[in-house]
Symmetry: C2
Subunit: 334 residues, 2 copies
């Protein structure tokens, strides 16, 4: 960004982000944004993406990175049963990063915000040796409609939206030497797997439908099913019997697993970044909820287990039962 | 943070941040926080502090850094005439950083939040090679009471709270070899200067008093008076005649300037990080506003110039007039 002052950059970014949005009294460019908050409960969440920890600048386009930085936050709002409203972007960039990279990043942020009917209303820009993108999203949810991680009861069924393992398998395809995976990437499911990693979808409508269908607890699958299910159970003070045969493994994950001599089930359990919703529902609410998600969003809802008194987390497979290890993406694990 | 999982760390941080706070339905630990927003306009702001850009880990205590990360955001809320309510902390840390450092940082964040009657309701933790602390603050302001940067009119008087240059002079003292500045640092004003840098005060009450006194525009002095005054004038489409003789230079700044062969006025104009409020007021509102700030907060309010049709930014000194250069802390300038 040599030769560009902070004010110059902010001025460019304001133009990318500008546009009338409901409820925005004052957008980017002042000390702070002024927004209409509405009568509902506010939802607040933040996610930070760090170069060489969460992404590799050589492997992801700035546009996709911006889109994803929005989507992962929206997914947290979706997991509360809410709707996103406003976003803030704090960005740190190296001095030698081309201005075009930042402009493309903001293009992706803008597209992500538009996709979820959100307005990006402010931010902060700074220098750093490695790129850091920290996005804050505020949302709202009606009083009484919010779903936390802590409400699951024994007997509740565990359900998950969509399919698992796609993002982790897509990351494998995206980071392998192109010659090795050309045949896989050229398939429809190969392209879908890569897109699942680079452009994840936040299940906003599905989250609200699950909330109104009576979800007792909900979390988004960001760090892997096993780890996030473990968190839900710990916060609810319950255990689980997870049926491994029921796990919806995304199309192509088995082929990628075979190609890399990995276990497809391990990818589905621990891959992370799926951004599917994992929820608990009373037994009689599962069927109506599944129908509603299929009808409204063409999204599958799969029952994958049952909540127990606990505290054990048990995975039931063809070869018997075992403790479910909370393996997955841990930002501090070595 | 070797040997600590993200969940372990989050669990420790939750205990530091916990405490009943008005309006917090669900604090740290879920996908997102749930908060009461109230009927007023929402204020949203974020500031990112990057190691070796904004701070040097060897020179600042993690406690002070945490406190400051909150205060600089609260200052942005104050500059809108609002009150802070909730905070989110996104933190990236190197793998070898002691856990005690993070715990102390959160202690400072907690103290800063308590000082401004805010609740820290969530966040995100990640790895990075250099420490990054990104704090988001939400606040509120009554409809019609918000003060932006863009409302100044020709004839309005420019006022500034407190005194200028203290933080920059304090930084000089804090970073110089101790033997060189021992005599300066041991004075009352020397300690005050260092404290101005490490523990800045956000002028929340003063901002609200200025808003109700009829402030037409307001900005906090974060990047230096000259630069922030330039921003206010540009957003308002006006110019300014700044009286250099009127600038309230903080006690000790002249002594520090002499010791380092610097110009005290340049420090006051371009030092940055003062977090004083710079506002414009109609002429007849200055005296009542100054009395109110003195009575309620024991904070000085000094008239330092007058808004003109512009577009020139003119500094009037003993040696005549000159263009005011918008020099100050630019996060991208070399």
């Amino acid at each position: 960004m040599s030769g560009h002052s902070e004010d110059d950059l902010v001025s460019v970014l304001r133009r990318i982000l500008s546009g009338d949005a409901p409820g925005v009294f004052l957008g980017p460019g002042d000390d702070a944004a002024l927004v209409e908050m509405g009568p509902h409960l506010g939802i607040l969440t933040v996610d930070m993406m760090v170069e060489d920890v969460h992404f590799d600048r050589r492997l992801v386009s700035p546009h996709d990175l911006g889109y994803k930085a929005v989507a992962v936050n929206v997914s947290d709002v979706a997991a509360m049963g809410g709707s996103p409203r406003y976003g803030l972007v704090a960005l740190a960039i190296p001095a030698d990063l081309p201005a075009s990279w930042v402009v493309e990043l903001y293009g992706g942020i803008r597209e992500g915000a538009d996709a979820y009917a959100m307005a990006v209303v402010g931010g902060d820009t700074s220098r750093a040796e490695r790129i850091v993108v920290s996005v804050t999203v505020t949302g709202e949810v009606s009083r009484g409609a919010a779903v936390t991680r802590s409400g699951a009861s024994p007997g509740d069924r565990i359900v998950v939206t969509g399919a698992l393992g796609a993002s982790a398998a897509g990351l494998r395809l995206a980071t392998a030497p192109p010659a090795e995976v050309a045949a896989l990437v050229s398939t429809d499911w190969g392209r879908d797997l890569v897109a699942s990693h680079t452009r994840p979808v936040a299940r906003v409508g599905e989250g609200q439908a699950l909330a109104s269908a009576g979800a007792t607890a909900m979390i988004d699958v960001s760090d892997g099913l096993a780890m996030d299910l473990g968190r839900l159970c710990r916060e609810s003070g319950v255990g689980v019997r997870l049926s491994l045969a029921s796990l919806p493994v995304a199309p192509g994950v088995r082929e990628v697993a075979d190609a890399f001599r990995l276990d497809a089930l391990a990818i589905a359990l621990g891959g992370g970044e799926d951004y599917e919703l994992l929820a608990t529902l009373p037994e009689d609410a599962v069927e109506p909820a599944a129908e509603r998600l299929e009808d409204r969003f063409a999204t599958a809802l799969t029952q994958i287990g049952v909540i127990t008194e606990g505290p054990d987390l048990v995975a039931v497979g063809a070869d018997g039962e075992r403790q479910l290890e909370p393996l997955g993406w841990d930002h501090f694990a070595g």
